[in-house]
C-alpha cells in the first residue's frame, strides 16, 4: 500500500483499548483519503441518532495519500465527527505539520471513540500509543498547552489541542495546531472535549514508500515552478488571505454588523496592507509549502505582548466587519483571545455579532450580560462576552450553543438574523447580491461555510442579479475543491496559483501506483458529497428542502449600506436556485439523491 500509512488506529477511550486495522483497497479507490475516509467511516460506524456529545460519537483525524510526501502544501489534516452544531456530518481542515506526522507514525486515520474517564491526552510515537493523564494541561489555553506539551515531550512532536471552550463544550470550539492554525468549524473541538481529550501528541519516524518518486519529484517541482511565476505568490507571502479584505468591501460582500451591511467603513484599518505596517512579525508556512501565507503577528495590550497567526480574511470579516472591530491591534488581540480560548473565529464572531444586535434591539439586556454594555465596535465588551461564553456564565451559557439555539430561546423574531445554515454560522461573505455564493452557503454539506464553493467571482463574471445557470458552477466547485481535503493537500497551488487540476491525479498515481484520473477524483468527490447528504437525511426529522434555506435576513431584508445597498434575494429566488441545483445533482424536489444517482456512484 504505497504512499499511505496503511493502517487505521482505533482508540477506545472508555475501555482503554487500542487496536489497528488495515486500510481496505475499496476505501482507497472509492474515497481516496482524508475527508473521503472520514465520511465513509462515520456513515458506517455511527448509529443513527447518536448524541454528538455522547461517547457514541467518534472523532476522526484523517490524513490524505499525499500528506507528508514531497508535494507543495501536503500538510492538511481533516478532523471529522457528527457535528454538535448541525447534528449531521461535520468536518474541518487544518494546515501545519500534523498529517505528515500521522503518516510517518504509520497511520492514515486515527479514530477516537468512547470517553476517557478523566482529562487525558493521546500520546503516539510510532507503535507506542498511550492514553495519558492531562490534569496538568486541563483548563489551559490552546496556545499555552501546545507550548507546554512541546516542552514536556520534545519539539519534534506535533500537537493538536483544544482550549477551555472545548472543555466547556462550547458548540463552536476548535482544535488548534502549530501555534495558530485551527480546525475551526463544525464543533470538532467540542467533540474532542466531550471525550475528555485535551490534546493529541504524535511523533512518527517511518518513511513512506512511493511508486515513482522521480516522477513525483518532477511533478511537484513543476507545481512549485508554476506558482513561483504567479503574482499571487508574492501577494500571499506579503499579506496572506487578508489581501482580499479591500476587494470584498468594494464588492459590498464584507459582512458587517451581523450581516446588516456588506461594507465596513473601517475596513482599510484592518486590511492586509495595514497588517504589514502594524502587526506582522514574520511569515509562517505549512508542511512543504513554498508560499508561507501564514502571517505571524504581534500586538500589545495592557503592557503585555500577544503573538498570534493572523488575522486571516475570515477573522477580519467575522470579528472585524461583523462585530465592527475596526482597529488592527484590537482585531489581532481578539484573534489571540479566540485562539487561546479555543473558539472558532468565524462562529465566535457571528455569535457575538448576533448578541450585539440583540442587545441593540433590547432582546438581550444588562440583566442578561451582567451589566456589560455589548456594543458593535467595542473590543472590551467583545472580550467580556467571549469569556462569558467560554466560561458558560450568564448569557454566555446560551450563546455557547450557537445562534440557532440562542435565537430559538430568545425569540422576538431573532431567528431572522441568526446567520446560520443547518445550524452552522455563515462565514465571511455577504451574499444577497451574489446568488451563486448564496447557493454555495445554502448547500454546503457541513452548513454555512464558504470553502466548498467560493463562487462569488462567478456571480461577478456572469451577472450578480442572474439566478438561472448558477447551480452547475456551484456543483462543479463543490466537487473540485474538496478533492484537496481528500488528498491531504492545500488547494491554493491550484485555485490561486493556477496549477492545472490534473497535475494532482498524476501526482497521486505516481505516489500510490494506483491509476487515478482527474475524472476518478471528481467522481469520488461527488460520491462523498452524496454520502454526506445521505448522512443529513438519516439524521433529520421531517427532512425537506427547508434544510437548505438561508437565514430570513437574506430574503426579507435589504442590505443597509455600501455597494450592494438595497439588494435582497427573494424566497422565490431561493427556491429557484434550489430547483436548479437539485436537478443538476440528480436529486428530487426535496433534495434527496435519486436511486439512479446513488447507483451511478456505487452508493
Amino acid at each position: 500500500m504505497l504512499a499511505y500509512g496503511g493502517k487505521i488506529l482505533r482508540i477506545n477511550l472508555s475501555k482503554g483499548k487500542i487496536t489497528t486495522e488495515n486500510l481496505s483497497e475499496d476505501l482507497i479507490k472509492n474515497y481516496v483519503g482524508g475527508r473521503g475516509f472520514a465520511a465513509r467511516l462515520l456513515y458506517d460506524e455511527l448509529k443513527p441518532g447518536v448524541d454528538p456529545l455522547s461517547p457514541d460519537n467518534k472523532l476522526l483525524i484523517a490524513s490524505g495519500p499525499l500528506s507528508g510526501l514531497f508535494v507543495p502544501g501536503a500538510g492538511k489534516t481533516t478532523f471529522a465527527s457528527k457535528s454538535p452544531a448541525t447534528g449531521s456530518y461535520g468536518d474541518s481542515n487544518v494546515g501545519g505539520m500534523l498529517a505528515p506526522e500521522i503518516k510517518y507514525a504509520g497511520y492514515d486515520v486515527i479514530i477516537l471513540e468512547g470517553k476517557a474517564v478523566q482529562p487525558s491526552y493521546i500520546y503516539i510515537e510510532n507503535d507506542k500509543v498511550e492514553i495519558r493523564d492531562a490534569k496538568k494541561y486541563w483548563g489551559r489555553g490552546a496556545i499555552t498547552t501546545e507550548k507546554m506539551l512541546k516542552e514536556d515531550l520534545g519539539e519534534q512532536f506535533q500537537i493538536a489541542t483544544i482550549g477551555p471552550a472545548g472543555e466547556k463544550l462550547v458548540k463552536f470550539a476548535c482544535i488548534s495546531h502549530d501555534f495558530g492554525r485551527q480546525a475551526g468549524r463544525t464543533g470538532v473541538g467540542t467533540v474532542m472535549g466531550s471525550k475528555n481529550i485535551k490534546a493529541i501528541a504524535i511523533r512518527g519516524t517511518r518513511s513512506l514508500k512511493m511508486k515513482d518518486p522521480k516522477l513525483l519529484k518532477k511533478l511537484s517541482s513543476d507545481i512549485i515552478a508554476i506558482g513561483q511565476k504567479h503574482p499571487n505568490t508574492k501577494l500571499f507571502i506579503e499579506q496572506g488571505t487578508a489581501s482580499v479584505t479591500n476587494w470584498s468591501n468594494e464588492q459590498g460582500a464584507f459582512p458587517t454588523r451581523n450581516f446588516q451591511s456588506g461594507y465596513f467603513e473601517d475596513h482599510k484599518k484592518i486590511s492586509g496592507d495595514v497588517m504589514i505596517k502594524e502587526t506582522i512579525v514574520t511569515n509562517k508556512a505549512c508542511f512543504g509549502c513554498p508560499m508561507a501565507c501564514g502571517k505571524y503577528a504581534k500586538t500589545r495590550k495592557n503592557n503585555r505582548d500577544y503573538y498570534v497567526e493572523g488575522p486571516e480574511y475570515e477573522t477580519a470579516a467575522m470579528i472585524g466587519g461583523d462585530c465592527a472591530i475596526g482597529n488592527i491591534h484590537d482585531l489581532t488581540y481578539a484573534n489571540w483571545l479566540c485562539d487561546e480560548l479555543g473558539v472558532d473565529t468565524i462562529s465566535g464572531g457571528s455569535v457575538i455579532a448576533f448578541a450585539m444586535e440583540c442587545y441593540e434591539k433590547g432582546i438581550i439586556t444588562d440583566k442578561d450580560t451582567g451589566g456589560v454594555k455589548l456594543k458593535f465596535g467595542d473590543i472590551d465588551s467583545f472580550e467580556k462576552i467571549l469569556r462569558q461564553i467560554v466560561n458558560r456564565e450568564g448569557i454566555g451559557d446560551l450563546l455557547a450553543e450557537g445562534v440557532r439555539v440562542a435565537a430559538a430561546k430568545l425569540g422576538q423574531n431573532s431567528g431572522k438574523f441568526a446567520m446560520e445554515v443547518k445550524g452552522l454560522e455563515i462565514s465571511g461573505y455577504e451574499s444577497r447580491k451574489a446568488p451563486a455564493m448564496l447557493l454555495s452557503y445554502m448547500t454546503c454539506d457541513i452548513g454555512g461555510h464558504h470553502n466548498r464553493a467560493w463562487a462569488i467571482t462567478h456571480d461577478i463574471a456572469v451577472g450578480r442579479d442572474k439566478i438561472e445557470g448558477k447551480a452547475p458552477k456551484v456543483i462543479e466547485l463543490q466537487h473540485q475543491r474538496p478533492i484537496f481535503d481528500m488528498l491531504g493537500c492545500c488547494r491554493l497551488q491550484w485555485v490561486e496559483l493556477e496549477t492545472p487540476l490534473d497535475y494532482y491525479s498524476q501526482v497521486l498515481t505516481a505516489a500510490t501506483g494506483i491509476k487515478f484520473t482527474l475524472d476518478d477524483l471528481i467522481k469520488a468527490s461527488e460520491r462523498v458529497w452524496n454520502l454526506t447528504r445521505l448522512f443529513l437525511i438519516r439524521e433529520s426529522k421531517d427532512f425537506s428542502r427547508k434544510v437548505d434555506y438561508p437565514p430570513a435576513r437574506f430574503y426579507e431584508e435589504k442590505v443597509q449600506t455600501g455597494p450592494t445597498k438595497d439588494s435582497m434575494a427573494t424566497k422565490e429566488q431561493v427556491n429557484q436556485l434550489l430547483d436548479e441545483y437539485y436537478e443538476f445533482r440528480g436529486w428530487d424536489k426535496d433534495g434527496r439523491p435519486k436511486a439512479e444517482k446513488l447507483k451511478e456512484l456505487g452508493l
Partner: protein, 77 residues
C-alpha cells in the same frame, strides 16, 4: 501608443494569458480602469493591476511599452 495586456485566472478569458500578453494599440493614454471597461470585464473581476511587475492603481495612465497584467481576486481563507 502600444501596450501589452494579459490576465491571470478567469481574466484570461477576456484579455488572454498574462505570460503571453497581447499587444494593443490605444490612441491616447487613459486610466487603466477605462481600458478594463472597454474589454468588457465586469466590475469587480480585477483585484490588482501589475505594470512592469509593479502594483499600480486603477487610475494609472499607461505608458508606451507597458506590460500590464490583470489579477483576479483571491478566495480569502
Amino acid at each position: 501608443m502600444k501596450i501589452k495586456l494579459g490576465g491571470y485566472g478567469v481574466l484570461k478569458n477576456y484579455v488572454g494569458p498574462a505570460e503571453n500578453g497581447r499587444e494593443i494599440d490605444i490612441a491616447e493614454s487613459k486610466p487603466i480602469k477605462d481600458i478594463i471597461k472597454e474589454m468588457n470585464i465586469p466590475d469587480g473581476m480585477v483585484m490588482l493591476i501589475s505594470v512592469n511587475d509593479e502594483q499600480k492603481n486603477f487610475d494609472y495612465l499607461p505608458q508606451e511599452g507597458d506590460d500590464i497584467k490583470l489579477i483576479p481576486p483571491i478566495s480569502g481563507g
